[in-house]
Symmetry: C2
Subunit: 112 residues, 2 copies
């Protein structure tokens, strides 16, 4: 069994076009023996955001701390602590921190 | 995209031998189109616990609120808010609420 506090896991800076002030901790990954899906914790600074993008895998997201909005190519919608998202494959999405403190969210993705 | 606050998802009472004062919300499941893995939120009352059991699938767990301890057949170990667990298939495990408020944790499991 792996058991750590999330802050013990290395904070990495993802390099991706369209990303701003986002860091990530890979809490559980294939390096831990997880074969089916990975758990990542994203930390997004005020006004920071993930890229507006789409891809052929899903996201399962839980908002741990902070406030923000999701955007696609048409709409935007506010979210808050304790919100949950299922983003199906190929759906456009972006997470933006509209609050004044760090936005922390779990985002899980499948391996395959 | 599914977007809800976790408290909007039905709180169900799992019926399982060895379980005490545990309720569950299936935040994301195959009913939402999630084909690879499911996200559940467990709410465990003080002195409540999940069963001491093993099974052939893994768990990915994040402690949202509260304190407790994990037990297997030999040891026990305390945990707190913000802790993360990867429990590989076939490993014995139990989550016990040793605190004074509701223990809330996310537990994700694969679909296969």
């Amino acid at each position: 069994m792996k058991h750590v506090h999330h802050t013990e896991v290395k904070l990495e800076e993802p390099k991706e076009q369209g990303i701003k002030d986002v860091k990530v901790r890979w809490l559980i990954s294939d390096k831990d023996g997880a074969k089916n899906f990975a758990m990542r914790l994203f930390e997004i600074q005020p006004n920071g955001h993930t890229p507006l993008h789409q891809h052929d895998w899903e996201h399962e997201v839980f908002i741990l701390e902070g406030n923000g909005k999701t955007k696609n190519k048409k709409d935007e919608k506010n979210f808050k602590q304790g919100d949950v998202f299922f983003i199906p494959p190929m759906e456009w999405h972006q997470f933006v921190n509209t609050g004044e403190k760090t936005l922390k969210l779990l985002c899980l993705i499948p391996y395959r």
